[in-house]
């Protein structure tokens, strides 16, 4: 079966567009257009069809707004094209453009003849009078210290929104331009800002691949997060690589500066951000000289997900670097990680490799002492263990250094624990040492005599059937050792950049120059090979145990794990069968989740509530029905008299109605029920698939009711009479 690389996440959100009624937000994301609900932040739909990157979304505004002129900024000129007269006027007053400062963004006032241009130096110029023959008037607004990246007017033209690298959204009152409101600490430089057609919501795209929805009080209502892009260091966006967290089934990697992001693969969205360094990101004074931030360069997650170890570095190459090792414990009550131990300068140099010791199958969990190994560039490795730190005030534990190991003063590189945690292999340049982590003695030293002086880059113990085998990746070769016989099983020439192992099987995989292959430590045959996985360099890869591809088990590969790649374009790529990819596309739920008016929404909700009454098992998603009906009604502008009858009817004749629709409804629900029960704890996707048929039916009922309503509306409305007539039916 063919596996093809497919984009899992990491597509950048394009500029956001509101729907006419401001209830939905459209944004392009990779090859799909995502539709978000602006009231609850849910991704309600993904519009597919494009095979390549979607670059922009624009709603057909029809006659809603007739633009009079189009403005475009080209370097230091501003050209304004009048739609009515067909004239183009180019403004290039060098004096007023502050000596050839490039225009970075432009916006047209919706009602008045005014064009705003944002400049490289942070000024915003407002041009008036440009369509007449007299000299145009220009006023300057200056708050931004760095380039203005986005500008937008609100639909009524009373305010202007601007954003830049300062991570601050500025709202200017057009009447009195000294009155401005700020929304600071947006997290990342602003890329795009847009106001909803009714002017009540602002959508802000920030550089970390987030769309934030703000209300007019500049409070953040909803945050739509994609895979956070680290726009601050383009060379190595994820210095700590990809780590799989088995507890939350998420990928852990770098997010915002000084943060870790937990990206759920099943839900395909970011679960949460963990602030590691606790420092606010401050935009630089000069965009060409970014400020040095504290970076998380290494992370390790324990096998039960209870502990996370992080290593952070601040190094501006002028002062001595600051290095810190932190241990975070998962607090199941607070559902978050709390800082347990903080070690300043754990090594004299940076830590290159860090991992927890896997639990031994022979011991009970209470006998296990959690243990972490760190390998630094100061040619030693350290073992850290959990100690009891209970005093009279509280019960507590802390981490401390247990052992410092070094070997002939050689530089340490990779390290790995055997799958039962009984051995620790540490690579020192071209030598491999195997240690007993309990007694801290060298068991044996392996040297690949055939291939002298090649530095070892990666070390991995085999697991399951191959647990006595050890795979080494040197700069040029891939070698497999048998630790029982202390002999080389096989070796092959391969410039391996990444070596990973599957936690649930004995498979291993390696990446060498964008080629990916899967093998077992016991044999040098490549089980699977895929060339050119990604268009750009693969920075890291990880196996994630996933039930999704269980139907492919019989191949031997892929097994129970899905492999994910992170490339230099900051995209997360997975290998997927083509058929599976088709299936995984979300089903359209437009009818259910895209009501066009309060009336439709009420009708749709009332029907879905009725179907819920019949089903014995309620899913979480459907319980909110009644509340939303009421809130929809309360928020709608349409006269209450239209709904009163229907709503009362809906309460009064519940049982009767149920009977009326029972024959229709029960069939569907009885079909869907067992499915849901069976896949209760599986991914939510299957759940969504089953919800397809009822929604279709709901729409048809909805249409019938709408017809009913229309008939009623044509008559003089006496809703009490109407109610009674319905109940008589």
């Amino acid at each position: 079966m063919a596996l093809i690389p497919s984009l899992q996440a990491g597509s950048q959100f394009g500029p956001a567009q509101f729907s006419h009624d401001s209830r939905f937000l459209f944004t392009c994301c990779g090859s799909v257009v995502k539709v978000f609900n602006t009231s609850n932040g849910e991704c309600v739909n993904e519009l597919q069809g494009h095979t390549k990157q979607v670059t922009g979304v624009m709603l057909n505004k029809g006659n809603v707004l007739q633009k009079d002129c189009v403005a475009a900024g080209i370097r230091n000129k501003l050209s304004i094209y009048s739609m009515k007269t067909g004239k183009t006027k180019i403004m290039h007053d060098t004096d007023k453009f502050n000596r050839t400062k490039a225009v970075t963004c432009v916006a047209c006032h919706p009602t008045e003849s005014c064009v705003a241009a944002g400049l490289e130096n942070g000024r915003i110029l407002l041009w008036y009078n440009f369509l007449t023959n007299s000299a145009p008037a220009m006023s300057t607004l200056h708050w931004h210290s760095l380039a203005v990246t986005c500008l937008s007017f609100t639909p009524d033209g009373s305010c202007m929104l601007s954003g830049g690298h300062e991570c601050v959204l500025v709202r200017w009152q057009m009447g009195s331009q000294n009155n401005r409101d700020f929304k600071p600490r947006m997290g990342a430089p602003l890329c795009k800002v847009q106001s909803s057609p009714d002017g009540t919501l602002y959508a802000v795209n920030t550089g970390d691949n987030v769309i934030q929805l703000l209300d007019i009080g500049l409070r953040v209502l909803i945050v739509y997060r994609g895979l956070t892009r680290c726009s601050f260091d383009a060379q190595s966006p994820i210095p700590c690589g990809l780590v799989y967290d088995p507890r939350s089934r998420t990928l852990v990697t770098n997010g915002l500066p000084g943060h870790l992001q937990f990206y759920s693969l099943a839900l395909n969205k970011q679960l949460y951000n963990l602030d590691i360094v606790g420092q606010n990101y401050i935009s630089p004074e000069n965009i060409d000289r970014p400020t040095v931030v504290t970076e998380v360069t290494s992370v390790a997650v324990s096998h039960d997900g209870q502990w996370v170890a992080t290593f952070e570095v601040w190094d501006d190459r002028i002062f001595s670097p600051e290095m810190r090792l932190k241990f975070w414990m998962y607090n199941s009550e607070a559902q978050t990680y709390t800082l347990n131990t903080r070690v300043e300068d754990p090594h004299e140099e940076r830590i290159t490799k860090m991992l927890f010791r896997p639990p031994s199958p022979n011991k009970t969990s209470s006998e296990q002492t959690p243990c972490l190994v760190t390998v630094g560039q100061d040619s030693c490795f350290k073992l850290w263990i959990l100690l009891d730190d209970t005093d009279i005030y509280r019960k507590n534990v802390r981490w401390d250094c247990d052992f410092v190991g070094f070997y002939r003063g050689l530089q340490g590189f990779g390290a790995d624990f055997s799958s039962d945690g009984s051995s620790l292999a540490v690579a020192f340049e071209h030598l491999l040492t195997v240690w007993d982590p309990d007694n801290c003695v060298v068991r044996t030293t392996l040297s690949n005599g055939l291939l002298p002086k090649e530095d070892i880059r990666h070390v991995k113990f085999g697991s399951h059937d191959c647990r006595h085998q050890l795979v080494l990746a040197t700069t040029q070769h891939l070698i497999s050792w048998d630790l029982l016989s202390l002999s080389i099983i096989w070796s092959m020439e391969e410039q391996t950049s990444i070596l990973i192992k599957d936690p649930v099987s004995d498979l291993m995989a390696a990446v060498s120059s964008n080629n990916f292959f899967v093998f077992r430590p016991s044999s040098h045959t490549k089980l699977y090979k895929h060339e050119n996985v990604s268009s750009s360099e693969i920075l890291d890869a990880v196996f994630a145990p996933d039930a999704r591809s269980s139907d492919l088990l019989d191949l031997g590969w892929p097994g129970n794990s899905q492999v994910y790649f992170y490339n230099a374009e900051q995209q997360l790529i997975t290998l997927d069968s083509s058929s599976h990819q088709q299936d995984s596309s979300k089903k359209t739920k437009i009818a259910q989740n895209l009501p066009q008016s309060a009336r439709k929404s009420f009708l749709a909700e009332s029907v879905s509530r009725e179907t819920q009454q019949t089903s014995t098992k309620d899913t979480m998603r459907r319980t909110a029905g009644q509340e939303t009906v009421l809130t929809n009604l309360l928020q709608s502008n349409e006269p209450v008299s239209l709904y009163c009858g229907k709503y009362l009817n809906h309460l009064l004749v519940k049982k009767k109605h149920q009977k009326r629709t029972a024959s229709h409804a029960i069939n569907d629900d009885s079909e869907s029920e067992p499915d849901e029960a069976a896949e209760e704890d599986s991914s939510s996707e299957s759940e969504e698939e089953t919800s397809g048929p009822p929604s279709k039916r709901a729409r048809s009922v909805d249409d019938n009711n709408a017809d009913d309503m229309d008939k009623l509306l044509s008559k003089p409305l006496d809703w009490v009479q109407w109610c009674s007539s319905l109940s008589l039916k």
Binding site: T111, S113, Y128, N129, T132, A137, M138, S139, S145, Q177
Partner: protein
């Protein structure tokens, strides 16, 4: 001597001890007909500059001690001033002196305005009274309006369609006064900031009765005059708005403030569908370093001045540029005696005679500063008569005769210096009896090279030549307009500071001899000392330029004076800008982003 390889070697007396201090500009008024502007300074002097002569300083009317001019206004080609003294003063521009003076009877005058027919002026006074004067013939007191509480700091006269209303800016409010009845018609109240009184520093009115006011909060407000309601406010200045002015077509307004910024307000179409108009503000320039006290608009130029003593002229039409008219007087404040190494410095109320330092003749290759063998020495301080200001002064080439003129007349002295080169020379001064004590004051004066005659340009426009030995005086020429006399002589290479372009401090007085034929300033004759590193102004045609070798030296900045002594040394008098600024009050502090 080829030009390219020619390196002129020149001994220069670099004089930096002349403590010239220009004065703050208080107000500016422009006469649209003749395109002249009158500028008053803090010492009470009034300068008149002409636009058509490239902002040349045509005359200076000395104020005398204690004089103050708070407001100036032109009426039918005549200039009137009001000041702390409480008098409205009319000037005689021919004689360059105040002519008539009438008291306001209501305390110090802060502001003046005139009606559209140019026959009445109104003065706003400390006592809160608007006082009318008739200027159709002679300056006459007409009447005073009802008194109000608080001083009147600004006035504007709305005189359209038979309606005659005076708008006065006071403290916390703006009032409209009916000229007919002398009673207030309506009142517009301004808000207060931090519970402080809001002072309306300036007010102006357009033909469609839009009142524009600038106040101490830094706000420029546009009012509908008929309904006395606010149209729009601009909070563009960070400190008090001190001055406002309107362009001729009244589509542009300008404001100047304590924060040294100038803003331009343009009347723009709000959209191109309706006829709706609205005011839009834009910055004009930030060339001032201190408070902008006064603004005037004439013929497409905006003239602004203030505490930093510079006059900036912004060209608003066509290619926009800003010109700096330096506060350096047209006439020489510095005279050298060419043969005796003396320099005469003219201050406002006294004269100083200095002996310049001397050094050994340098070696051929020596460059840079020479060590002095004799230091400079102040020989003499000569004070003017009490209550008088020195108008002009001169010293003869030999250094034996010096003369000056103050408000009352000319005085000539003989200067004798015993043991000239010693460390402490003996100086004695004797009044020359041959010059009458009752001569009228002069504008310019010069001695003939041998010191035998004194040539004087009198205030009346007469050129008189006095023989110093026998006291005979000959009137050479008399002109009715008489305010352009330039003195010089072909033989002595006498330098004349000639109004070539604005007297910017950067542009040195030209070391050329110029005799002016008449008002159009065509040079009759001139001579330039060849290959001596002279500074020639560009863009002026001096006939056959190829006859002269001109070199420009940019070493000196803010040069007030340059001339050669008889032994070929250049005396350059420099007054660094920083030293002049040190004596000014501190400018308005503004927080700048990224600057601590």
């Amino acid at each position: 001597m080829s030009e390219a390889t020619d390196q002129v070697k020149l001994l220069v007396h670099h004089v930096r001890f002349f403590e010239f201090q220009p004065q703050t500009i208080n107000c500016i008024a422009c006469d649209d007909k003749t395109q002249r502007i009158a500028v008053s300074r803090a010492d009470g002097s009034v300068e008149i500059l002409a636009l058509h002569d490239n902002w040349m300083q045509e005359m200076t009317i000395c104020g005398g001690q204690g004089a103050s001019v708070e407001s100036l206004i032109w009426c039918q080609g005549r200039l009137f001033a009001g000041g702390i003294g409480g008098n409205v003063v009319g000037f005689d521009l021919q004689q360059q002196k105040p002519k008539t003076s009438i008291s306001s009877n209501a305390g110090p005058i802060w502001c003046l305005t005139k009606n559209s027919k140019d026959n009445k002026i109104a003065a706003g006074t400390e006592d809160g009274c608007v006082v009318l004067f008739d200027v159709s013939d002679e300056l006459q007191f007409l009447r005073g309006f009802a008194k109000q509480e608080g001083r009147i700091l600004s006035l504007a006269w709305y005189d359209q369609d038979g309606e005659s209303i005076i708008i006065s800016g006071s403290i916390n409010n703006i009032r409209q006064w009916s000229v007919k009845s002398g009673q207030p018609i309506s009142r517009m109240t301004l808000g207060r900031k931090f519970d402080q009184d809001t002072i309306v520093w300036c007010v102006t009115v357009t033909k469609d009765f839009t009142i524009i006011s600038g106040d101490s909060r830094g706000i420029v407000t546009f009012w509908n005059g008929k309904e006395a309601t606010q149209l729009k406010t601009f909070h563009c200045h960070k400190a008090d708005v001190l001055s406002l002015c309107l362009s001729e077509d009244e589509t542009e307004a300008f404001s100047g403030s304590v924060d040294a910024a100038l803003f331009q307000f343009s009347l723009c179409n709000a959209d191109h569908v309706t006829e709706r108009k609205r005011w839009v503000h834009q910055p004009l320039h930030w060339r001032h370093t201190h408070d902008v006290r006064a603004l005037a608009y004439t013929g497409g130029y905006l003239v602004s001045g203030g505490v930093d003593t510079n006059l900036f002229v912004a060209k608003l039409k066509g290619v926009k540029r800003v010109l700096n008219v330096a506060p350096v007087p047209k006439h020489n404040l510095i005279n050298i005696s060419r043969e005796s190494n003396l320099v005469l410095l003219q201050y406002s109320t006294h004269l100083e005679v200095w002996r310049l330092g001397s050094a050994n003749t340098p070696f051929a290759e020596e460059r840079g500063m020479l060590p002095l063998t004799q230091k400079r020495l102040k020989l003499l301080v000569l004070k003017a008569r009490e209550d008088c200001e020195v108008i002009c002064s001169s010293i003869s080439a030999s250094g034996t005769v010096l003369g000056f003129s103050d408000n009352r007349g000319i005085r000539v002295f003989t200067l004798t210096i015993e043991s000239q080169s010693s460390v402490t020379p003996e100086v004695s001064l004797q009044r020359m009896s041959t010059v009458s004590a009752h001569t009228p004051p002069a504008h310019l004066m010069a001695f003939t090279p041998k010191g035998s005659h004194l040539v004087v340009a009198l205030a009346s426009g007469t050129l008189s030549v006095s023989n110093l030995t026998n006291g005979q005086t000959k009137l050479l020429e008399s002109r009715p307009t008489g305010w352009k006399v330039f003195l010089g002589s072909a033989k002595i290479h006498r330098s004349v500071s000639y109004g070539l372009g604005p007297a910017t401090a950067r542009l040195a007085p030209v070391v050329v001899l110029i005799l002016c034929k008449n008002r159009d300033q065509t040079p009759l004759k001139m001579a330039v000392r060849k290959s001596k590193g002279l500074m020639l102004p560009e863009k002026k045609n001096y006939g056959h330029k190829s006859d002269y070798v001109a070199k420009t030296c940019y070493k000196f900045k803010y040069l007030l004076f340059a001339d050669f002594t008889s032994n070929g040394m250049l005396v350059a008098v420099e007054r660094p800008l920083s030293q002049m600024e040190d004596n000014l009050p501190p400018s308005f502090k503004q927080k700048k982003f990224g600057v601590s």
